[in-house]
């Protein structure tokens, strides 16, 4: 299924993605820490969710009961969510300047008391299950909101992911959407050289999920995958495997596992910034 999206809208989303990447880089370079590459890989995914008309939310009322729940299970990528939430008005943008600073409101890993953040995450394999519990609660409460969670592909090494995967399909949580940021890298290596994760789609299908494969940097493909996502045509939960590049947007940070969890400094930071600025033009 495809969705109608104009070139102009796509350009706007791309511009927003570039703005967010710039904010991520500024935050992390200033702080000297933060998971830059893990956040760059999922930037289009989050921009599509928050700016592509997918999620329902109210920045002025972060606990609005009818909001969709977005659960960032790969909590190390908090630096992608914080600028997005700030930009939307969940909290003042200036708070980004105090990332991991004294008197700052948040650190490297996701914190539940930040408006819009929903949970504390950073230890992998937790958020996905919490999201499943939230989806079950919504069903029991007869609430119509959706629960969407973003996992890292490296997170899928955690056994608890598969406990939840079985559970979610057995309990027919068709109000539950998961996205895997398939950037092909974990902390120290490429995933397929660590412990092979493929065939990812076949594994999830075998666990009872609808599976869609998309280019995780293409707004057209992402928004097509989310199109009609509130429809309950299937009883199964849905997984989107988003093929991405860890470090996307800064070429010299891509395809190099050692950039995991590190913020570029000096010349590396300058190159990254200039690439992002070039893209802006």
């Amino acid at each position: 299924m495809t969705c109608e999206i104009s070139e102009k809208e796509i350009k706007q989303l791309e511009k927003k993605a570039n703005q967010i990447r710039n904010q991520i880089l500024d935050m992390c370079v200033r702080a000297g820490t933060g998971h830059v590459t893990s956040s760059f890989s999922c930037t289009e995914i989050l921009v599509a969710l928050y700016h592509g008309g997918v999620l329902r939310y109210d920045p002025k009322n972060p606990k609005w009961n009818r909001r969709d729940r977005f659960i960032l299970s790969k909590g190390q990528a908090s630096v992608i969510l914080y600028p997005i939430l700030a930009d939307l008005g969940f909290f003042p943008v200036k708070e980004l300047n105090y990332f991991v600073q004294k008197n700052g409101k948040f650190g490297v890993h996701l914190q539940h008391d930040v408006p819009g953040a929903e949970i504390t995450a950073g230890s992998l394999g937790h958020g996905f299950g919490i999201a499943a519990g939230m989806a079950l609660a919504a069903k029991l409460n007869r609430e119509r909101h959706m629960v969407i969670t973003l996992l890292g592909d490296g997170e899928c090494y955690e056994g608890s992911i598969w406990e939840t995967a079985m559970f979610a399909s057995h309990y027919r949580l068709n109000n539950f959407f998961a996205i895997i940021d398939r950037n092909w890298m974990c902390a120290t290596e490429f995933t397929e050289d660590t412990v092979e994760l493929n065939p990812m789609d076949e594994k999830w299908k075998a666990f009872g999920w609808n599976v869609k494969n998309v280019d995780g940097h293409s707004f057209e493909e992402l928004l097509s995958a989310f199109h009609n996502f509130r429809s309950k045509r299937s009883t199964k939960p849905t997984l989107i495997i988003a093929d991405t590049t860890k470090g996307k947007g800064a070429d010299h940070l891509c395809w190099e596992p050692l950039w995991h969890g590190i913020s570029p400094k000096g010349e590396d930071a300058k190159i990254a910034k200039s690439q992002l600025c070039e893209e802006e033009l």
Binding site: T120, L136, L140, T164
Partner: protein, 311 residues
Amino acid sequence: MPETMRDAFFDKLYELAKKDPNIVLVDADMGAPSLDKFRRDMPAQFVNVGIAEQNAIVVACGLALGGKIPFTYAIAPFITLRCYEQIKVDMCAMKLPVTCVGVGAGFSYEDSGPTHHTTEDIAIMRALPNITIMNVTDNVMASKCAEIACKSKGPMYVRMDREPLPTIYDKKEEFKDGLTCLKKGKDVCIISTGNMVHKALEVANLLKKQSIDVAVVDLYRLKLVNTKSLLNYIKQSKKVVTLEEHLLDGGLGSIIAETLADNNMNVPLKRLAIPDKYCYTYGGREEIRRTIGLDTKSVAKTVLDFCGKRR
């Protein structure tokens, strides 16, 4: 009154869940006669996640975030140690009102070996901020714990024995204090918890015949400890003995030693607990206790020696 504290707890929870559809039981594939009717009469409030304790905790946390009052249930070592990090990060760091119900305290699963013995849980669970730990002594307390847990605003661990134990509390008891002085005595105060409270009462009776005046305190709330009342009871005896079916490190004995040290109280203390080893002893719970000096006779002798009255 049902036979075991587990059934007393779940009978009460059944009653409460009938009135409140937000109460949800997340079961990690553990059965109980009292659960059969829960599952039958309230299927939407009974979620069996299978033998998957980590998932039980995270799903329960998600349910709590969705406004539910979730209880997770499994054999005690599995619903504490197996999913410890989920309890830490998701239940405790987010202060979610999820209750872990663990059955099989100490050597409850006597002949099942160290995999099923619950002998480290107090040490690890009490290390977590924000959690309340209730170690149940009898069926009256078990029933009340279900009510307390339903009203709890934060995470809770209810530790229960598997063995049918005599009822010692009055039905009107509210269990708000966190501890009870079951017997006064000026020579020595035995502070115990859970199943071993019954052993402490036996020892006190045995020593009475030898003219040792033994006090017995049941410290059933192991976190948050009611320090003020605890110190008050301790002051009324010359010496203190702690008695528990848990490893020596980090359990009840540690709680008391830390409380005495932190409050600058110099009272002779003897800690009776499981020595630093795993027990592959068979032949029943009393036999295991006999080999490690936790049977009634051995405990009585140790207390007698500690009081300096060898007879």
